[in-house]
């Protein structure tokens, strides 16, 4: 893709993202009805849930990219995995921040060790470790190889982490009902979530695209530097 085409695409994505997000916010705050039991705080949902979907999608991309890299040895897959991991971690952090901010006013405590939030925390740690691994390997080919292995192992681990946490929760139930997230939703709320997801997805796509370009640039840099040294 040419330089100008790339710039145009970025701009289009940015505008689309901003439009979607602003309209989603309007929807979330004006159009969507107020939840019966929790009230206004429930609107955090329009951030929390889409962010959770997005981070999980991003980590799935890391998984696919890792497999594809090991299979084809094309660096583009590695760049995709790296970009998806970073974007995923950012949105994962958003989930971990909005979770407690929702829990405190509603249930009185900052953290509930419910399976989903705990799995998100472990997920966050796994992919932060993935990013640190990438940081500490200098050779590009080795970095791609090792990261791909960790990317695969990490993703396969996720359902096991979730299962372990679910069963642990049933053994040690919290004195608090952790239901609430999806139970009995007004259809207008689902539209709100979908819209917010569309907006954040476009934004995430933009971030991914920019990060991918960075990897491509870095590779070009290394290649050029190597050629000059000869």
């Amino acid at each position: 893709m040419s330089e100008s085409a790339r710039h145009r695409l970025s701009l289009v994505l940015l505008v689309a993202a901003l439009l979607l997000i602003v309209s989603a916010w309007y929807y979330a705050f004006q159009v969507a009805p107020t939840e019966r039991t929790m009230g206004t705080i429930q609107r955090i949902f329009y951030l929390h849930l889409p962010a959770a979907f997005l981070s999980f999608l991003a980590f799935f991309v890391v998984f696919v990219g890792s497999l594809a890299y090991l299979w084809t040895r094309r660096m583009g897959w590695d760049w995709a995995a790296a970009s998806a991991a970073e974007v995923g971690v950012v949105f994962c952090a958003a989930v971990l921040i909005t979770g407690p901010l929702w829990a405190k006013p509603v249930w009185g405590i900052w953290w509930t060790w419910d399976a989903r939030l705990t799995t998100t925390l472990i997920l966050f740690l796994i992919y932060v470790a993935y990013l640190m691994l990438r940081l500490y390997v200098t050779d590009a080919e080795r970095r791609a190889r090792l990261a791909a292995v960790v990317g695969i192992l990490g993703f396969v681990d996720v359902p096991l982490v979730y299962m372990a946490n679910r069963w642990w929760r049933t053994q040690h139930p919290e004195p608090v009902i952790a239901g609430g997230e999806g139970s009995g939703l007004d259809p207008r709320m689902w539209w709100g979530v979908l819209w917010a997801f569309a907006g954040l997805l476009t934004f995430a796509g933009l971030l991914f695209f920019q990060r991918y370009r960075m990897e491509a640039m870095r590779a070009e840099l290394t290649q050029l530097a190597r050629r000059l040294r000869r």
């Binding site: 107020t34 929790m38 009230g39 206004t40 705080i41 609107r43 955090i44 951030l47 929390h48 962010a51 970073e86 950012v90 952090a93 958003a94 921040i97 909005t98 901010l101 929702w102 405190k104 006013p105 509603v106 934004f203 971030l207 920019q210 990060r211 370009r213 960075m214 640039m217 870095r218 070009e220 840099l221 050029l224 530097a225 050629r227 000059l228």
Partner: protein
């Protein structure tokens, strides 16, 4: 019911600060790379003279 209005505000504020912070971090890193690339290309040009 107005419980947690403050928390709601903080949630949106922090998340957006996070996202924009990441955007700036990306922009800064990209600029660094672009500058390095420019420098290298210039010295490559000088080398061939």
């Amino acid at each position: 019911m107005e419980i947690g209005l403050k928390h709601l505000f903080y949630a949106f504020a922090i998340v957006w600060a996070l996202l924009l912070g990441y955007v700036f971090s990306l922009a800064r890193r990209q600029k660094q790379l672009a500058d390095e690339l420019e420098n290298l290309k210039k010295s490559a040009g000088r080398r061939s003279d």
